[in-house]
Symmetry: C2
DNA sequence: CTTTATATATATATAAAGTATATAATATGT
DNA sequence: ACATATTATATACTTTATATATATATAAAG
């Protein structure tokens, strides 16, 4: 799927690997992260498959080694649009190290569980503040990107409320015993 | 992380691979799925590392080849609890093939986008109905498991509302042009 | 004016997660 | 007797994710 994320970005404009990472983190970094170890091998494969082309450029006054600018080809555009029109294969996947622990908190120390929940609450509070502040930034990026940003903020808010409610219930439950 | 999911389940009771998959899909299948290709290699590794023990049993009157019953060892219990007490490394990851397409819908055919959103709406409606019906089933499984089930249903409901709202906004937006 | 730190940029090795498929044993229906 | 479904394990392969190495240029510190 990373393949299509890259093709989608190159659909906007030509880019090099480093810039692609920046964009992904800035744009849909609400919900995921990406890694150079995923980007460069994918770029290589896309290039081998003739879905993108590459030109090496040195930009005067800019830091770092020469950049490899990739552009999407007609073949790439075609394959990207084919993918865009197919129905998504699988439903949402939520693999979260916190939730994973949460289901098993009954086996561990209740006090430590509350501590971890508190950490999570402050993490989500910071994140929500950051998102709400940035919501306006997406207004001009088109309706779909804006709606995704809305979803990100709503999800964040919902989970935060759930965390607070859970903490209360767990404490109440512990007090009753 | 699958390693710890398996250890967590074996913390309840001894199990064989096939049963582990059943349990994972039944218990936290709200949000993920798991695969034999992930379970058996993990069981092998856990056994090599002496975190679980194995005994092969043939249950009379039951179908299939002999089962390999795995139990958690003291060493396994220790490592599991250590993990449970550590702070979760990374925040929630949301890698969804639908959302992935959604951000790029601006590049594609608007009518097809609405079709895919409709598919998604009916998918989420069915799923939400199933979840709400099952919510009571978790009541007896302890507070943490119940709270996770609540979160699953809430997330489902929220995304469904977002899908409906998005559809309206997209149609309105298209009509204005 | 040199060394150190920092930002930019690419690349690769390894590990973990996920998909697809093969194999085997037994119960059950026809 | 034979096809079919269910239970169960196993492995090959692909994709995703982490960790780390390398190179270049600017900026800052001493």
């Amino acid at each position: 799927m990373i393949k299509y994320a890259i093709l989608g970005l190159l659909h906007y404009t030509e880019m090099h690997g480093y810039r692609i990472k920046e964009h992904i983190e800035r744009n849909f970094g609400h919900m995921w992260s990406i890694n150079y170890g995923q980007i460069y091998p994918n770029l290589k494969k896309l290039h081998d498959d003739r879905l993108i082309t590459m030109k090496e450029v040195v930009v005067n006054g800019e830091k770092g080694p020469p950049r490899k600018l990739y552009s999407i080809t007609d073949k790439g555009r075609e394959e990207f649009l084919d993918w865009l029109n197919t129905s998504p294969e699988k439903p949402m996947l939520l693999r979260d190290p916190f939730l994973m622990r949460f289901v098993f908190f009954g086996f561990g120390d209740g006090k430590r569980a509350i501590e971890i929940i508190d950490e999570q609450i402050s993490r989500y509070q910071k994140e929500l503040a950051r998102r709400k502040k940035n919501l306006t930034r997406w207004e001009k990026s088109g309706i779909y990107v804006r709606l995704i940003a809305d979803l990100g903020a709503s999800l964040n808010e919902m989970v935060l409320e759930w965390l607070k409610r859970s903490k209360k219930e767990i404490l109440k439950n512990a007090a009753e015993k």
